[in-house]
Symmetry: C2
Subunit: 201 residues, 2 copies
């Protein structure tokens, strides 16, 4: 189901236009799943195995009108999507507060910063200042490559853009400064292992 | 606006029946605000003053039908409230992962455990096992008293109920083992100060 923000912009994934078949992923292990599905599976694995407690937040909705048909569930008859004011995922891993957003891009050679909002950058900065671990998970849908991108790299790229520089993080910078990881079986995406290598690799 | 779960049960606060004026709070500083409003204000204060980053999660909604009128925002035309699978609030305070739910009760002498769900108790247990701080904020609307209730007390009361014991936490137990705090001005509810006294007072 296509979920849209007010104004009609699609919720996720931003690069796949309506009525087009999503670009295919040619790796064997990675056919047809969205990044959100993969993260949901991974988080369920982490929870069941007592590795971490991480949940996706519900999509924020402004409810305007609700009907109460007798003997059945309340039905929302008018509501609007709101722009999220924080990131989509958070939780706890080994005593560490974890906070991140997940983005897919169909661009092959860079991650466009238009995929994130100024208030999300601000939120990740606040979390970092409180001692939490904030980052992005970026999936390149064409190549099937995944990166855990620490907030300090996101922040530098964001400030460079605001100073008139490029509006994306080049793949070469991610290869150099982010932590790449591969899709597996259980968990599907062991992104917390990648995150625990921040500042090391 | 009254928000309802499937089945028609009100989202919050559970004890105030529809079409009745909420019971009045006779303390000077506490006229007419819901606990959710008070916590929102407090969290905005914490955020602005770089004390903590704590947000309420959006109410989970299952969207079934969306209209896209041209030149205007997408309108949700059919959706249903889902039961939350976690607590309503979480975030980070001084490097500590914070996870809690907030409940008002119109009962004067105890906190009825029907205000919380089994899966919320399960969630708070998982968070505690990962090293996070899980608790309830309970407001007695008749007396205007507030308690921060550590998860271990919630868990003991829950297990007592499941073994056939009483279905509530008596006020006397809260006075003994939870941390009471008062409404103030800035922040409205300094509940994190109360939480930092868990295990001390």
């Amino acid at each position: 189901m296509a979920i849209r923000y007010p104004g009609g912009r699609r919720y996720s994934p931003p690069e796949q236009p309506k009525n087009k078949v999503p670009k295919k992923d040619y790796s064997f292990s990675n056919r047809g799943k969205t990044l959100e599905d993969e993260l949901d599976e991974s988080n369920a694995f982490y929870l069941a195995n007592k590795i971490a407690v991480i949940h996706k937040k519900p999509v924020p909705v402004q409810v305007v009108k609700v009907d109460y048909p007798s003997r059945s569930a309340a039905v929302i008859r008018e509501a609007y999507f709101k722009t999220p004011s924080t990131t989509d995922y958070n939780g706890i891993y080994n005593g560490r507060h974890i906070d991140f957003d997940a983005k897919e891009t169909g661009i092959a050679t860079s991650f466009p910063l238009k995929n994130i909002h100024a208030h999300q950058v601000e939120h990740m900065k606040s979390v970092t200042e409180q001692g939490g671990t904030a980052f992005l998970i970026v999936k390149f849908t064409v190549s099937g490559r995944y990166f855990a991108v620490p907030f300090d790299l996101v922040e530098r790229a964001w400030e460079r853009m605001e100073s008139g520089g490029r509006k994306s993080i080049p793949l070469a910078e991610l290869e150099e400064e982010a932590v790449e990881f591969k899709a597996g079986y259980l968990p599907r995406l062991d992104y917390l292992k990648a995150v625990s290598r921040f500042g090391i690799s």
